[in-house]
């Protein structure tokens, strides 16, 4: 008799620690793992990211090891960026597309050695990765379970890691990845994150997970280091202007309706598309899109008032519907009402007269607010410490 049904959700390597932390845990499911959505209070956790140091267990992230003589050529065929330009020890934000030029997923690509990479993604893609490898001498292996991951983010994150004993961590530049000695083992640290703040992601063997958690909590105690759940992370990632698959766009492989896919241009990621590097998946479709124009455009919106414009429709001149909000929040740090929205393309002249239709429940009475919107650049929040090197030690 198999017992797998008794554990419908898996435990991450930090499970014993995440289950012990917090007072009012809200759990959620992520890639088959039981993870924490809220430890104690989403507002406190949010504040920890922006003011102290936070830890977030991102072990369920899907990770692939991509290695071999043709690894660069293979990745160049897979993703839209030129991987040749990604130096060893650097991390790149990448998207990869299907044949129609629609984004299958976004992720981070770590160049660990000349021909050894790690690709981190939201969804599972092994069949696509393997089928894309036909004709390339490259090894592709999912290593999600073999690599535990923990994000340490916030203004004090560098200080915490220094106290943990990671020598010269402050010199690690943004989007750099390096190995550090920790408890006589190797700890891979990248200066990356989903918060838009100063922060690091730690990649380690699962057996190191529990001691690392304990050491971090001890090292950061005086800075009120705080475990955060996915709800707080979602708030800071909106401020950072990052797109969330399945929320701000449908990954093409998950969309049932063929028109629901979105191209990198439509997601505002044109900078990630390099037509000069040779063929890559979706290149011909994207060239055609560049010729005839995109259908949509994902933008950041600054909306008047303080009522989050969740799921709001966006109107031109208060009458014509031209888009929809996919993520929205009142930003306590920016003191602005932020949103990420998908607008119909080809209407940039209308961007000066956009309105969000927000419904607000005021003590069981629904009110409809038409709030003026401004299209603004993302990130909405971009503190200097995010990119300062050496990183501030506070």
């Amino acid at each position: 008799m198999k017992e797998h049904y008794r554990t419908p959700l898996l435990a991450t390597p930090f499970h014993t620690r995440t289950q012990a932390a917090g007072r009012a845990r809200v759990l959620s499911r992520w890639a088959g793992y039981s993870t924490v959505a809220v430890y104690t209070d989403v507002r406190l956790e949010y504040a920890a990211v922006r003011n102290q140091a936070s830890v977030f267990d991102l072990s369920p992230m899907i990770k692939y090891r991509i290695e071999g003589p043709d690894a660069v050529g293979y990745l160049n065929r897979l993703v839209t960026r030129d991987v040749d330009k990604l130096a060893v020890g650097r991390v790149g934000y990448v998207v990869w597309c299907d044949d129609r030029g629609h984004v299958l997923d976004d992720g981070t690509l770590f160049r660990l050695e000349g021909q050894r990479f790690r690709l981190c993604a939201q969804d599972r893609h092994l069949p696509w990765l393997l089928d894309s490898a036909l004709g390339f001498d490259v090894d592709i292996e999912e290593e999600s379970e073999a690599v535990a991951a923990l994000a340490v983010q916030g203004p004090s994150s560098c200080a915490v890691l220094r106290r943990l004993g990671l020598k010269h961590i402050e010199t690690l530049r943004p989007f750099a990845v390096a190995e550090f000695a920790y408890r006589d083992r190797a700890l891979t640290v990248s200066r990356t994150g989903f918060t838009g703040d100063l922060g690091y992601e730690l990649w380690l063997a699962p057996s190191l997970a529990e001691p690392l958690w304990d050491d971090l909590m001890a090292a950061g105690q005086h800075m009120h280091i705080t475990p955060i759940g996915s709800q707080a992370l979602n708030l800071v990632r909106i401020e950072a202007g990052f797109l969330m698959p399945h929320v701000d766009f449908m990954p093409a492989a998950a969309a049932v309706r063929r028109t629901r896919g979105r191209s990198p241009f439509e997601l505002g990621l044109a900078r990630l598309v390099d037509f000069d590097k040779g063929h890559f998946n979706g290149r011909r479709a994207l060239l055609e899109e560049r010729r005839i124009g995109s259908r949509y455009r994902v933008v950041g919106l600054d909306i008047e008032g303080n009522k989050p414009a969740r799921d709001a429709w966006i109107y031109y001149a208060r009458r014509k519907r031209v888009g929809v909000v996919t993520s929205a929040m009142w930003s306590p740090t920016c003191k602005r009402n932020l949103a990420i929205a998908t607008l119909e393309a080809g209407r940039e002249s209308m961007w000066t007269d956009l309105w969000a239709e927000i419904f607000v429940n005021k003590e069981l009475k629904w009110e409809r607010i038409m709030a003026r919107c401004r299209v603004v650049e993302r990130p909405f929040y971009d503190p200097p410490r995010r990119t300062q090197t050496p990183a501030p030690d506070c």
Partner: protein, 542 residues
């Protein structure tokens, strides 16, 4: 045929255009009949064309080979029954040396221990030929064939067209509308019957109309020859219609070419050369080169690069796109779809050098020159296929046999003969591999032959068996599949070889396909080559 003799001579008076800048308009990969037909058609429209053939002679799988000195035979394909008349006429193949040794062969259905049945090549003679042995079928068969030929006629009208796209432009819609109109003109009852049977299996239909199992078996063999289908497999009625369509269009039944199939290929090569096509044999293409996302020529195994504005591949889709082009140049979903094109060949070829004419029991010596089919019954054929389903060769294989030396004295020394047989089923994906099983399979074939011709082994001087693996290795066809890709409703017209690439163009600008896995497909027809040429010409040269 030895290599020097097979080298196509320069004939004709048309001056060949010279390649001033060392660059060809079109490089055609492979001098199979479709590649040559395509090249000749392109050259007639003024394109400077070079054909690159890996083998020492032209023809691909339509070649004549020597079993042992003095005994020559069509090495792979051995009969033509669908050769496009337009090809023969427009390329003046007869002026370039094409001769038929015999046309419109009758079929003799053989069965061990039973008198053979004669199935006439033409439907109108089918009844009388059967009358003495099975009077009921003598009435039913012509009626059945007449109806199927009406249906086949509709398929045949599609052969010379570029397949229409669904959701394409007005020209596509017009072609679809014409197809709809032709179907509508069948009338309600006939259209209903077509829809009733078109997706079904050939065995059901034959059992519904005919009594003689020997007759049914031989007819069903026509439906499944070259296919990974048994007579009870869905789609097998459609493949039969397809064969009938090819025959109907050729206007004549199975025919033998004087000098073997190689002579047809040489006539095609001469016709192409007369129009200025340059043909290089022994020039194996190792890669299609791409520059700025456009096919820019081909690289030969020798390292030589041949620049061309357009590249047309007579190789199958897998070999072309995955092998020569490289899947890095196409998107992954397309890589998958190409990878799933069914190319597992099921047909082997047996060539025998014979000391004397063998005796087929009950066959009148005057009929020995016919097309002899060993498929005595639906169950015999289905049982033979059962093995192939599980990666085994048939213990009692089905066969199509010709003794071409009866019609063409040049093939064997006086009084001696060559026998040529297509043998099913010999699955390309044989468990344990072909190298280990070849001898045992050959023994099964010889035993099956001996059941109908007891003296065959005694008269055999030499044998030559080409399994699908041999065909893949020698003729560079994926899976050794005779039609490059399975035929069937799901791989027909705008779905052949795959949806989105059915109009001879590939996603790589400047690269085209013209092989048997393109519409209208398999058999020695040559139409895919001509259709592809039309598509190539429609593109403005860069």
């Amino acid at each position: 045929m030895s290599a020097p003799a097979s080298r196509p001579r320069e004939v004709g008076h048309e001056a060949a255009p010279t390649v001033a800048d060392g660059r060809y308009d079109v490089a055609v990969i492979g001098a199979g009949h479709n590649g040559l037909a395509c090249a000749a058609t392109l050259a007639r429209s003024g394109r400077r064309v070079v054909v690159l053939e890996a083998a020492a002679q032209v023809g691909g799988a339509a070649v004549t080979g020597e079993i042992i000195p003095g005994f020559r035979v069509s090495r792979c394909a051995h009969l033509v029954d669908a050769l496009a008349p337009a090809l023969v006429r427009e390329l003046e193949l007869e002026r370039h040396g094409l001769r038929f040794a015999v046309r419109g062969l009758d079929t003799l259905a053989l069965a061990p221990g039973a008198p053979p049945l004669r199935i006439a090549a033409e439907a109108q003679r089918a009844g009388p030929a059967l009358h003495a042995q099975c009077p009921a079928d003598a009435r039913a068969l012509p009626q059945l064939l007449a109806r199927l030929e009406r249906f086949a006629g509709i398929i045949a009208t599609l052969f010379d067209e570029t397949p229409p796209r669904i959701g394409g432009d007005n020209a596509d819609r017009l072609r679809l509308a014409r197809l709809g109109w032709r179907l509508r003109r069948l009338g309600r009852a006939e259209l209903r019957e077509l829809l009733r049977i078109v997706g079904t299996n050939v065995a059901d239909l034959l059992e519904e109309h005919l009594e003689s199992d020997l007759l049914r078996g031989a007819l069903a063999f026509d439906a499944v020859l070259g296919a990974r289908l048994g007579p009870r497999s869905p789609n097998s009625l459609f493949t039969w219609l397809y064969r009938l369509a090819g025959r109907r269009r050729a206007g004549v039944g199975p025919s033998v070419i004087e000098g073997g199939m190689g002579a047809l290929s040489e006539a095609l090569a001469r016709a192409a050369q007369a129009r200025g096509v340059e043909i290089r044999t022994g020039a194996a293409v190792s890669a299609i080169t791409v520059s700025d996302d456009r096919a820019s020529g081909v690289r030969l195994a020798s390292g030589e690069h041949i620049a061309a504005r357009q590249v047309v591949s007579n190789a199958d889709i897998k070999r072309t796109m995955h092998g020569l082009l490289g899947s890095a140049h196409i998107d992954t979903a397309l890589v998958r779809r190409i990878g799933s094109v069914p190319t597992r060949g099921q047909t082997a070829k047996l060539n025998l050098a014979l000391d004397a004419l063998p005796t087929f029991a009950g066959v009148d010596p005057a009929d020995m020159g016919g097309r002899l089919v060993i498929a005595p019954g639906i169950d015999y054929l289905e049982s033979a296929f059962d093995h192939a389903k599980y990666g085994e060769y048939s213990q009692a294989p089905a066969m199509e046999i010709t003794i071409p030396s009866l019609h063409d004295a040049t093939l064997a020394p006086p009084g001696r003969h060559v026998l040529s047989a297509l043998v099913q089923y010999a699955p390309a994906d044989l468990g344990g591999g072909w190298d280990a099983a070849r001898d045992a399979f050959e023994a099964r074939i010889m035993a099956t032959l001996a059941a109908c011709a007891p003296d065959i082994e005694a008269k055999t001087l030499a044998t030559e068996l080409l399994t699908p693996l041999d065909i893949e290795r020698e003729f560079l066809i994926s899976g050794g599949h005779w039609h490059h890709a399975e035929l069937g409703l799901e791989r027909f017209l705008m779905l052949r070889p795959i949806a989105g690439m059915a109009q001879y163009a590939t996603p790589v600008p400047g690269l085209f396909l013209c092989g048997a896995d393109c519409h209208p497909g398999g058999g020695i027809m040559g139409v895919a080559g001509i259709n592809a040429a039309r598509r190539v010409l429609a593109e403005r040269l860069p």
